[in-house]
């Protein structure tokens, strides 16, 4: 008849009270269980979607803050440039798997034609009169990050060597379709034209004021088709991607130095042709050299985004910020976020209610058993063991109540979340008014987020619920147990 056996007898011999306590714990347990189920499910969605969104991040001006600046302040603001050293410093952080920074330039050609796409709706065809249809994308990371990340595959030839990147060798990796369109093969050369335009505001006409050829050797061919094949044929997002596809097909990867040279040439010639602009530049002490890099970092894991952000932010110049691919989650996760918040509030309220109600029930039962507790103390039982006995009684009932509510609460959560998501569906906006970062964007939509939502009875939910449930009951029992500590057996028994 030790205190544990007394505890078990306390449950079986006082069936009515045990059932009342069981009912209270079961009802409140359902609330806690439901809330945890929803939290787990939304957490899983966040994890899954963030994994699908990838680990890419970049550093750019904080456009949200800039947009909210007063106009006069905004006009005076001159953003500091990021600089290669800072980009490299960030790239050396342990969270970064690999990184690149690139300059971009658009060019035309008289010898090759842009790829227009196959079987495409006319609406999505490229403008045939576009004089600069080719995008030169500067590369500093020789293996090409887009290939490493599976955005495209190398179908022929090779990627850059470090020497080619460093020396700015005139070589390019172009799309397989563009090569086929122009009968180009690895080892062939082709010529682009870097035209310098002057714009006449009065006549609204553009004139070519200077021009030079850029001859590039094809060293590799890439195929971006693997990306389109992955996406859902019928989805709206796929249409969006198809629209972008011709641009990617006409993108050429070249060493950054090539882009820098051509950009500088373009600026120099522009200034030669525009005295007014040249005078203004001179007045402001700026020369014609122009380097503006867009860095892109790929981190080891999606979980690294936040620590990466925390470490990078202090290094950045004023009004710069970290933008990550996972930021898109906040835009597409509307119903999930509101459900997660609701579940969080329900959980807090349910835990507080459980502590209060169970605490009161236990206290009432203890007062009712004052004499019994006094007897144990008069027989010399340690108060800790009397407390242990009560804890066993409550916790055994709690385990039964929590186990029952584990299943019913989970079931309830599934029903409730379906209702919430359906009712929230109409409120979602597909439009995004912020800055668009193609490197960071994915085709995932709110619908994908909703589709990946599933209330499961998995191990983390079971452990989480038992943990929170039993801890809550423990706290609600410990508070009334102070009553036992203060019990005076003489006053009760004599």
């Amino acid at each position: 008849m030790n205190f544990m056996k007394r505890g078990i007898l306390g449950i079986t011999r006082k069936k009515g009270k045990s059932l009342i306590l069981l009912a209270v714990i079961f009802i409140l347990g359902n609330l806690i269980s439901g809330a945890i189920s929803i939290q787990q499910a939304t957490g899983n969605v966040e994890k899954t979607i963030k994994e699908r969104l990838g680990t890419a991040a970049t550093v750019d001006l904080d456009h949200d803050t800039l947009n909210n600046m007063p106009e006069d302040e905004w006009m005076d603001f001159e953003p500091e440039e990021l600089g290669v050293n800072l980009i490299k410093q960030i790239g050396d952080l342990p969270y970064v798997k690999y990184y690149d920074y690139s300059m971009e330039q658009w060019m035309g050609s008289e010898s090759i034609e842009p790829y227009q796409g196959e079987e495409m709706d006319e609406d999505f065809m490229m403008d045939e009169e576009d004089e600069i249809p080719f995008q030169l994308k500067g590369i500093n990371y020789a293996p090409i990050i887009d290939l490493e990340e599976g955005k495209a595959t190398l179908t022929d030839g090779r990627v850059f060597t470090d020497e080619e990147i460093e020396n700015g060798t005139a070589v390019a990796v172009i799309s397989e379709n563009l090569a086929a369109e122009n009968n180009l093969e690895v080892g062939d050369t082709f010529t682009l034209v870097n035209n310098v335009y002057s714009y006449d505001y009065d006549t609204d006409e553009e004139d070519i004021v200077a021009s030079r050829d850029v001859v590039l050797e094809v060293i590799g061919l890439f195929d971006p088709k693997s990306v389109t094949q992955e996406s859902d044929e019928d989805s709206e997002s796929n249409m969006m991607f198809m629209m972008e596809d011709p641009y990617y097909q006409n993108t050429m990867y070249v060493p950054n130095e090539i882009v820098i040279d051509e950009t500088n040439y373009n600026w120099e010639e522009t200034l030669k042709a525009d005295d007014e602009l040249a005078a203004m530049m001179k007045e402001e002490g700026e020369d014609a050299s122009f380097e503006y890099y867009e860095p892109i970092y790929y981190l080891n894991n999606p979980e690294d985004i936040e620590p990466f952000r925390e470490e990078v932010l202090p290094l950045l110049p004023e009004l710069y910020t970290v933008i990550s691919a996972t930021d898109q989650y906040e835009r597409i996760s509307g119903p999930m976020e509101s459900m997660s918040k609701l579940a969080k509030y329900v959980l807090i309220v349910a835990v507080a209610a459980t502590i209060l109600i169970t605490g009161l029930v236990v206290l009432l039962f203890l007062r009712d058993r004052k004499r019994e507790l006094g007897i144990y103390l008069s027989l010399g039982e340690k108060r800790s063991k009397v407390i242990g006995q009560i804890l066993i009684e409550v916790m055994v009932v709690a385990v039964v109540g929590i186990t029952l509510s584990l299943f019913s609460g989970n079931l309830l959560a599934g029903q409730v979340s379906d209702t919430i998501m359906n009712s929230d569906d109409s409120n979602q906006s597909e439009y995004y008014e912020g800055v668009y970062y193609p490197e960071l964007e994915s085709e995932l939509t709110t619908e994908d987020v909703m589709d990946s939502y599933e209330v499961n009875l998995d191990a983390s939910y079971v452990l989480g619920f038992y943990g929170i449930g039993l801890l809550t009951i423990l706290i609600s029992t410990v508070i009334p147990l102070i009553y036992i500590v203060r019990l005076n057996p003489k006053k009760i028994l004599m």
Binding site: N2, G10, G374, L379, G380
Partner: protein, 223 residues
């Protein structure tokens, strides 16, 4: 001397004034004797018993059990291992059977108890006059006299030498009262226990080996 109280003082603070329940009370008890402490309501006899049973502590003075201060032994430990207490209102656990009530102190004490505790409990109840079929009943299904017998068996369960009883026959009829007194006598004289009974009954006092009278907190021999 199994138990000795020296210069016990116990009082209530009433404003500036102290109202003494026990004043410089000294008393000693031997093994193998049946003692009674006689007194009217409010005489301080229950307070004295609560001090001797370590359910309360005196404001001054000391209580020695086998020459050791019970404060040093530890009140809880003293109650657990050295004494058995019997109350006027039995104070049994109503949701337990008679034998389960007797088993409770056996698992609390640190004294050596034979491993087959249940047999010991049944034997004790049988010795006190509770047969097996009654021993398996919930105690609130037993009569007052039977419940008090169970309480006595519980007090003996830890194999202690000192039994303290507060008005043990207060709720019983005369016939049952005599049966309980006979049990106490047997425990003292046949088993060498020291039995101390607090009572207001002269009939019980005259049957004890030694009786004390407590009046207004002052103890004297009962003639």
């Amino acid at each position: 001397m199994i138990l000795e109280a020296k210069d016990l003082n116990y009082y209530y603070q009433d404003g500036e004034q102290r109202r003494y329940i026990l004043k410089d009370t000294s008393i000693s008890f031997e093994k193998g004797k049946f003692y009674t402490i006689l007194g009217q309501s409010g005489s301080g006899k229950t307070t004295l018993l609560s001090l001797l049973s370590a359910l309360d502590s005196p404001h001054s003075g000391e209580i020695l059990f086998n020459d050791e201060d019970i404060k040093k032994i530890g009140y809880e430990k003293y109650r657990r291992n050295n004494i058995g207490i019997i109350f006027q209102s039995y104070n049994l656990i109503p949701t337990f059977t008679a034998v389960e009530n007797v088993l409770v102190p056996m698992t609390i004490t640190e004294n050596e108890i034979p491993s087959d505790k249940e047999t010991v409990a049944y034997n004790l109840l049988d010795y006190i006059g509770i047969v097996k079929n009654k021993a398996d009943r919930l105690v609130n299904k037993l009569s007052g006299g039977e419940q008090q017998r169970v309480a006595i068996a519980r007090a003996l369960a830890t194999n202690v030498e000192l039994i303290l009883a507060d008005e043990p026959t207060g709720n019983l009829d005369e016939e049952m009262e005599q049966e309980i007194i006979d049990i106490f006598k047997r425990l003292a004289h046949e088993h060498g226990k020291c039995v101390i009974v607090v009572t207001h009954s002269n009939e019980i006092a005259v049957q004890s080996d030694q009786a004390f009278r407590l009046k207004k907190g002052v103890l004297s021999s009962y003639e």
